[in-house]
Subunit: 465 residues, 2 copies
């Protein structure tokens, strides 16, 4: 059966469109956190929506599961096949054309294999901003970003991928192509089908093209790294700043002291402005049209009248970049340190301080060696809340269930979410069944069965049957 499937696949695609060699497959079968290692029949690398549709139809005929894959930078294993080796990985990497930048409509149209940084550059060349941005921008793809409804450092001002999406083209499980590639800011013609596919992690269809919003390109920036005694003080400054300058506050990134210790250890070449390291920092960026000096003045004014411990302002682009690197290398510093139990959670912004005050002591009561590395997007109520133990080997995963129970318990009690911007993938399938109601899970399963009755689209991800 496998042989006839592969032969038929070969007839659909050009020679470079199929990889079957074990060495070539290895990278596609391992997730970037090196937590999930799967097996696959092959990797298909179609070049067009029509080729994707042909591959999907072939898989439907042969009952072959499909695992769509973008830049393979996800955090929850959504793009990694299981160990059975029965699935086909469908990589969008060759569908990387930027199709149109319409500056007058403030939109960009792309194939979904386009690297985020390339789309950002194309927008910038037209004097526009593609607001989606996060640490993996240089390697992640638009399709993956849509599949997990990715967030990042500009959500406070510009929203998640969902809010930035105007239209989609999607290959359905049947192999039919849904042409929803509209470039409209208002369109109320029945149910908004595109919303189903955004954040569905490839379980309902494969997004092949997208129209994304662009914004006026900010010409002014002001960036400060600010030290606080506690998260309440950071939240107070955020609210004060928003009152003064509104949505010019584009990033407000909270960084806990243990992050700074990891950075000092693994990135000693990165200068840290404060010594000793303060309990909490926030990296605050304002952006606007017009003049940077004016924006800096407003930031300095707000800082002068607030309850902060200390602050440094970036005086130029190089200093800006150095401060941003402190934020962006936290993920890599953690990776070098070893295994931690990671949580990507969100809360009402007003309840972030309560969460931090409650959850840490609860964890340390049960696990006295727990060290909490917390950072994230305070302005969106989104924390990356990671727990290291003394043993940082794979053995650390043994306590995962118990640690998750404490963290997710606190999150749920405060009205929060167990996945803010990384999705569910494989990692949180069980947690989802625990923290979402039966009614919700039944609705989701109903939608899945409606759109993918054979359960071939990224099976085992998001929902368990």
């Amino acid at each position: 059966m496998t042989t006839s499937f592969l032969a038929a696949l070969q007839a659909l695609l050009d020679p470079a469109g199929i990889l079957t060699d074990e060495t070539a497959l290895a990278g596609y079968c391992l997730d970037q956190r090196r937590r999930y290692r799967g097996q696959a029949l092959a990797v298909a690398r179609p070049r067009s929506c029509e080729e994707v549709a042909a591959v999907v139809r072939l898989c439907a005929e042969h009952g072959v599961p499909i695992v769509p894959q973008g830049g393979n930078t996800g955090n929850c294993g959504a793009a990694t096949p299981d160990e059975s080796g029965s699935a086909l990985i469908l990589s969008l990497e060759r569908m990387n054309r930027i199709l149109e930048v319409d500056a007058d409509n403030n939109t960009i149209t792309v194939e979904t294999g386009v690297i985020l940084a390339d789309a950002q550059a194309a927008a910038r060349a037209a004097g526009r901003l593609l607001a989606a941005d996060w640490a993996a921008a240089a390697s992640c793809q638009i399709g993956g970003a849509l599949a997990v409804n990715a967030g990042g450092v500009n959500v406070l001002r510009y929203g998640n991928m969902r809010e930035q999406t105007l239209g989609l083209e999607v290959v359905l499980a049947s192999g039919e192509i849904w042409g929803g590639l509209r470039a409209l800011r208002k369109d109320n013609t029945g149910y908004d089908l595109k919303q189903l596919f955004i954040g569905a992690e490839g379980t309902l269809g494969i997004i092949t093209r997208a129209v994304l919003r662009l914004f006026p390109l900010p010409t002014a920036q002001a960036l400060a790294l600010v030290a606080f005694p506690d998260p309440d003080a950071a939240l107070a400054l955020l609210r004060d700043l928003q009152g003064r300058v509104g949505d010019r506050v584009t990033s407000f990134e909270l960084i806990g002291q243990p992050c700074l210790e990891l950075l000092a250890k693994h990135f000693p070449q990165l200068p840290q402005p404060f010594s000793p390291a303060p309990q909490w920092l926030a990296l605050i960026e304002l952006s606007d049209c017009g003049d940077s000096a004016e924006l800096s003045d407003k930031l300095i004014e707000a800082l002068a009248e607030s309850e902060i411990e200390d602050a440094v302002l970036a005086r130029n682009a190089a200093e800006s970049e150095a401060l941003w690197r402190l934020r962006e290398e936290i993920a890599e510093a953690q990776r070098r340190e070893g295994v931690s139990i990671k949580h990507d959670i969100s809360l009402p912004v007003s309840r972030v301080p309560a969460f931090l005050a409650e959850c840490g002591p609860k964890l340390q009561a049960e696990f006295p060696d727990a060290q909490i590395v917390a950072f994230g997007h305070l302005g969106d109520g989104n924390l990356h809340y990671n727990v290291f133990r003394a043993d940082k080997s794979q053995a650390a995963y043994q306590a995962e269930a118990a640690i998750n129970a404490i963290v997710y318990g606190c999150v749920t009690q405060l009205g929060g979410s167990i996945s803010a911007e990384h999705g569910i993938g494989q990692l949180k399938v069980d947690a989802l069944t625990q923290y979402r109601s039966k009614l919700e899970l039944d609705l989701m399963r109903g939608i899945k069965q409606l759109l993918d009755p054979q359960n071939l689209m990224n099976p085992g991800k998001v929902l368990r049957f």
Copy 2:
């Protein structure tokens, strides 16, 4: 059967919770455009989500269709029952409590029978902006606004209702209550169920509570009414302004000359600044934190360097209000004038001038007496494009199909939508089947059948079976 249903309904609700008297029903059975007049068994006026659920369960048992109704200000007859008299109208008007304003989380939680203007006022009292705003704000309800994914005059800056919604509570067709009342800016835990109900016009469930985003309250405004020779010049100014001041451009409302003539006729007391009336006007509002004078300076600077014909700036709140009334009374002036064939369409912003240049001549070639009253939200590509004939009685509807074919043909060819912000209701059910693909309609029908297998939730609206 009807008697036993009504008796059972009476047992569920308080005496004021049911209206059966014909006089009392009349207003609920007539849509605000006076185009649709239906009949109903009764009006149920529950006071809580639990009462709504009980009514829905009773209707499911008795096979009674439900027509949910908010402020009854919709434009497409979605809230009006058919003429059979078999349906129950479920009015949310007594569910009008504002449940919470969380200024630190920038959210407001309301029952969906709350009048939009009341929610705006509650937000303002907490120093926050509820951005949803349009002419019917003083009488429409939040639930209706969510049901049609309403737009309005601030979409350019703040988005439609969909973009402003963080969480919903919904009574499903089964009478079960889905508790999705989350107040989170990031939440990627499976399929985003709330998106199904927003814009579904009550055909998939009844939204009983909602959490909406709030924004920093702007303290500065600048408003100008600007005359242009053509829509291209208006679009050029919009782009120039966005480059200069970014998202401080909160409204950019285009007004065609015939609107001004209707205003002069039906609202002679409203002063019109330009004489003779120019071909095109735009009402442009900038808003921001900080100081109004600074904002006005920026607007004046942009106007001075642009290709406009003339402009007036509002010097104070009273002048602002007078200019806004010109925009907001267009709908009432049209109503007083008589019957027109209305279209609420959207296009890529860059294609609005092309649409206006193409569609008018095509209409007038076929209907030499056609007068086009066009106005709308240029910044979102949304036009209200209404066609009067010499005969402005109900007889004018005779040409509706032919006129729609021309207008929707031009819209479709330019990648636009036949319903931008008013939804489908009864008015556009047939048009939807014509201008959306079979695949899309099948997907929508599948969703409808999944969520409302008995087809009792606002049947006949949005989709025809």
